[in-house]
Each structure stands twice: as C-alpha cells, then as structure tokens.
Amino acid sequence: MKRSFTFFALVTLGLLCYALYQGMVVAPTESTMGDVQRIFYYHLPHAWVAFLLFFTNFLASIWYLVRRTQQSDALALASAEVGVVFCTVVLVTGPLWARPVWGIWWTWDARLTSTLVLWLIYVSYLVLRRFATGAQTQVLAAALAIFGFVDVPIVYLSIRYFRTQHPQPVIAGGEGSGLDPRMWTAVLWNLAGFLSFALLLIWQRYRLALSENAVEEAHANRALGPEAEMPAKPDSRGFAPEYDSAPKVGNKPR
C-alpha cells in the first residue's frame, strides 16, 4: 500500500508541476486584467473539486444512513474536511483576485457568496462532528449533511436572484466572457492535478478515521474487560478491518 501511495503521490506532483507551468507560462495573458487573471487557474479548479467533494459527502452520508458501515462514515468525514480545505482556498484566492482588479476585497457577488455559504454549511457539519457525544454522532452528522447538500441549489438560486436585483461587479468574469482554448487547457491540467491531490488527501484522512475508530474501540474494550482483543493494524492494502462486535478471547498469557 505504501508503494502505491508513493507512486500516486509522485504522479500528482508531476501533474501539479506541469499544471503550474501551463498556468504561469503557456496560457496567454488576459487582455483586460493582465497576469493577475492567472489566479483563475487555481481558483476555479479548487471550486469544482470542493463541490465534487461535498457531493461525495452527500452520497456517503446517504449510504451511511442506509447501511451504517464505518467505511461510508469515514468517507463522509474525509470528503467534508478536504472539501472545506479546498473551499477555503477558493475564498482566499477570490478576494486576492478581486482586490487588484476591482479595488475592493469583497463584493458579495453571486459565486463567491454562494461559496461562502457552502463553506459555512460544511464547517457547521465539522463542528457538529466535533461536539456531538456518543455513538449517535455519525447518524446526526449524516442527517445534517443531507440537509446541507439539499440546501445548495436553493442557496445558488437565491443569491443569484438577489444579485440580479442588486447588481454588483462579478469577480470571476461574467457568464458571457469567453476563454481562449489555451486557457482551457491550463484549467483542465490544474483540475487534474488538484483532483488527484484531493484524492490523496482523502485517502489519508479516510485511513486515519478508520484507524482512530479502531483505537477507540480498543480503549472501550479494554475498559470492558481483559479478554477483548487489540485492534488489528490496517492490512497491506491500508484498510482497517471492519469492527467485529464480539470481543475475541485473546491468546496473550496473563
């Protein structure tokens, strides 16, 4: 498992470096905004990846409520956390782009505001996971995740309409602004790079979640009695074994 991870990490690194080259060198300079526009090659892929990750969280949460497997819950947690990280990047690069172009940090424009609300929803999900107590954390979080994702289209609709009523400068360029094909190439390379980077992060966070669950079970079993077995280490493929409810009698001499 370690070997495939290293291989995948190197592929990701290669993609990201080539994507950086595409974004900084190959893509032509934008006519009105100048080189600052190149922030777009980080801004947009991060937005798409974040959205994809939140969708993953939605699906994993539904799967958890139906099947109640630890794997689906771990995936839900991992995709939400990494999604929030990517969303944070969108919210930081947005104003950094807006400031030199429009002279203001924030305009409550439709896309950035929707991203902010998205960020708030999933941060509240993570806060719930941190503050909920006991075994029901996972169920409650899954329920909240469904509420959150169902809300997303309504958020976009409402903010878009609000902005048509009260127009303001648009940060990422209007709907009609065309993209030079070489710019699209840069976007797609960066999308590929950051998508595989996100997958790497989720992979690690997922393993971490499962391992931590196993350790917690071990602590609980230890409190229950000396016959409970130590949690098995993740096997060679990196998957922690599914929790077995019956404590096995240990064969360690006492």
Partner: protein, 224 residues
C-alpha cells in the same frame, strides 16, 4: 392512533403547559424587545430609510427570539425522560415532530404579532406595498425557521454546548430563507419590487425541508 391524531394531542398538551407556565413566551418577548431597542440606538432613520433597513432588523430580531424558543423545545422532554418513553411507545416519531414544530410555529407567530406594533412605532413604519403580502412572507418565513429549528434542536440536545450548537447549525442552512424573508419584506415596505420570486422560493424551501425533516426525524430520534 393516526399520525395526525397523536400530533394534535401532543400539540394540545404542549400549548396547555406553555399557557400555564408562559415562561417561553415571556423570555422570548423580552429578548426581542431588547433587540429592537438596542438596534434602534445604532440607527436614527428617517421614515424613508427605515423602510429600507426595517426588513433586515425585524427578521434578525425574530430569528434570535426564535432561537430562544427553539432551544427549550426539547428541554421539558429531556428533564422528564419523555423521549425514551416516546421511543418505546408505538406512536410514530413524525407526530412528535409535527406537534413540536407546529407548537413552535404558534409560539413564534404570537411573538411576531406582539412585536410588530412595537416595530411600527419605533421605526415609524408604513408599508408602501400591499401589507397582506407581509403576512404571507411572515407565515412562510416563520415556518422555514421553525421546521429546521425544531429538527436541529433535536440534534443539538445530543451535543456538548447545546445552546450554541443550535444556531451554529441552523443559521448557515437558513441563509437562503433569511435572504428571501429580508429582501421580500424590504421589497414590500419600499414598494420598489415584487416579492413574488421570494415568496415562491420560501414556499419551495418550506416544502423541501419539511419533507426532509419528516423523512429523517425517525432516524435521528432513534440514533443511539
């Protein structure tokens, strides 16, 4: 017993208890009044300006007061282990939710009805657009807050710092509804735009989230 019958009985019990004790209404009322007064220190608006900002102020005040009400939704049940009894009984969880949600709706609506004259007086409000639309917006908007609020109150009682947990998870998801309420109210008060789209959005929000709440409440109440 059918779902609606159980819900109605539970609602009647809650209203009777609240009428006898009146602590939720009183605390909410006082809190909302304080918010109105404090906000009015920050602005000294002319009648024209006040129409523009009143929408936002009013709904923020109602939102905070609603949170006070929502936080104590399940307090009585927790104190007397009623939730465990409910889980064991054959009564459908959905009835309990409906009863609580409608009870909260009535509570918050009473509050709004009492606060509105105060707002009109403090901000010299006079609606330019048709006032009946404000009533529709109030009904749709209050249900939007209350339905999710009742559900999230049930979630937050299983967390540490439950009083802060409720607004923390309720507010982000309520943002589109709040935006709709505020902008619709402002549109009606200033008479500058039609609130039609916002009312439709609120209706969609209400339908969607009432469905989700009813579908998931059973799962959440039995999570243990």
């Amino acid at each position: 017993m059918t779902v609606m019958a159980v819900a109605r009985r539970t609602l009647a019990k809650d209203l009777r208890l609240e009428w006898r004790a009146k602590d939720a209404v009183n605390s909410m009322l006082f809190f909302a009044l304080l918010v109105v007064v404090i906000f009015s220190f920050s602005f000294d608006p002319t009648a024209e300006e006040s129409r523009r900002i009143a929408g936002g102020l009013v709904w923020v005040a109602f939102l905070f007061a609603a949170v006070v009400a929502l936080n104590q939704t399940w307090a009585r049940e927790l104190r007397n282990q009623v939730l465990d009894a409910y889980r064991v009984s054959p009564a459908p969880a959905v009835s309990l939710f409906l009863a609580k949600a409608v009870g909260n709706f009535i509570l918050v609506s009473v509050l709004e009805a009492l606060m509105t004259p105060l707002f009109i007086v403090f901000y010299n409000l006079r609606s330019v657009g048709p006032a009946y639309q404000l009533l529709v917006i109030a009904v749709l908007g209050t249900w939007a807050l209350v339905v999710n609020g009742t559900f999230f109150a049930a979630i937050s009682i299983r967390t540490r710092s439950r009083e802060i947990m409720l607004p923390l998870i309720l507010f982000p998801i309520s943002i589109p509804a709040l935006l709709a309420m505020v902008d619709a109210t402002t549109s009606v008060l200033t008479g500058e735009a039609s609130p039609r789209f916002w009312m439709q959005l609120l209706a969609v929000y209400d339908v969607v989230f009432t469905t989700v709440c009813l579908a998931l409440f059973d799962t959440v109440i039995n999570a243990e």
